[in-house]
């Protein structure tokens, strides 16, 4: 009797992920208004292709395969339903990338308010990255579009509170011009670390946005 052959880890991953990808594709397709069986099957086929194409790029050190696969399958199905023919990076790609690094830490004992705040925080972050990416795409057509920049800053101030000149520069250079932290530091006459710190402060304010806007107050801790 031959000993069982060692299983190929990639095959293992795919065989575990494929049923999930099919279910996810169906859910997304229905949510985006695809009703015909043919349409749903097309989405599922696209999801399978995306999964196979994504597999070689997965680095287990960066996170779970499930989250990585979610990003690729979701992106591929949304594009198919939108019938996007030519690829151009937009805010959707930024949001999908942002979703890839979110932790899937499970805390079944977390309080309701804590869980709500975490989900809201995720949504705020994804919306911010998507908005910044879409603004970058719009500005790439007309970099001098002052009105667009002004309106974007207006919206960002509603999201994170007042934005000072340094913060405006970081937002412009990092998210719209796509410079590295080193380049941003040089452009601002600051160190790379100082530039990063400004960005971190903005992110912290975004996380606290719920309370900043006074939409909801967390109950006092016990």
């Amino acid at each position: 009797m031959r000993p069982p052959s060692p299983k190929n880890p990639e095959h293992e991953l795919i065989s575990q992920a494929m049923p999930k990808a099919l279910a996810l594709a169906r859910t997304i397709a229905r949510r985006l208004g695809v009703r015909s069986q043919q349409g749903i099957e097309d989405c599922q086929q696209t999801a399978c292709q995306a999964l196979l194409e994504a597999l070689p790029g997965h680095d287990p050190a960066r996170g779970s395969f499930d989250i990585y696969a979610w990003k690729w399958v979701t992106g591929a199905v949304i594009r198919l339903v939108r019938r996007e023919r030519s690829y151009r990076r937009t805010g959707l790609d930024d949001a999908l990338d942002a979703a890839e690094v979110l932790s899937d830490t499970d805390d079944p004992f977390a309080e309701d308010d804590e869980e709500r705040d975490r989900a809201k925080s995720y949504c705020r972050w994804l919306t911010f990255t998507r908005f910044m990416g879409d603004t970058r795409a719009a500005l790439s057509k007309n970099p001098e579009e002052r009105v667009l920049r002004a309106r974007a800053f207006e919206a960002l101030e509603r999201a994170v509170g007042d934005i000072d000149e340094d913060e405006r520069q970081v937002l412009s250079l990092r998210y719209w011009a796509g410079l590295t932290w080193e380049q941003i530091g040089l452009a601002m006459g600051r160190s790379e670390r100082q530039a990063k710190r400004i960005d971190e402060r903005l992110r912290e304010r975004l996380q606290r946005g719920l309370r900043l806007r006074g939409v909801e107050q967390s109950p006092p801790s016990a």
Binding site: A23, L32, S36, D104, D112, E115, C123, R130, A155, G209
Partner: protein
């Protein structure tokens, strides 16, 4: 490949408004950008966030737990339509269960739920 034309408008996502948790997250996240984003963009962002909340491995379980607790806290003998455990995309997903809720009869309070005998 010919999927149905996409309908990325508010009307095609009636379930969004039905789930208070999802609606709360959408309002919170999109609020600052209203007036800057076009209606089409708003609908597109909403559908993306809803997909994220219901299917992503980090957010889906939160949605499911909150949904389950809400059901448990609702008046006795009321359970949601569909069984989240039957649908297991990457989040262990309730995506389909949420979709199913869209077609469920509406209760007087605007939620979708099924009464057990």
């Amino acid at each position: 490949m010919k999927p149905d034309p996409p309908h990325l408008d508010e009307e095609t996502l009636p379930a969004d408004a039905d789930d208070p948790f999802i609606e709360e997250c959408l309002q919170d996240a999109l609020g600052p950008y209203m007036g800057v984003l076009s209606p089409e963009q708003v609908a597109d962002y909403r559908s993306f966030l809803t997909i994220f909340l219901t299917t992503h491995p980090a957010a889906g379980p939160i949605y499911q737990r909150l949904r389950a607790r809400r059901v448990a806290n609702t008046a006795s003998a009321e359970v949601p339509r569909g069984d989240a455990a039957d649908h297991t995309p990457f989040a262990g997903g309730a995506g389909d269960a949420h979709d199913d809720a869209a077609s469920a009869p509406r209760a007087a309070d605007g939620t979708s739920r099924k009464r057990t005998p």
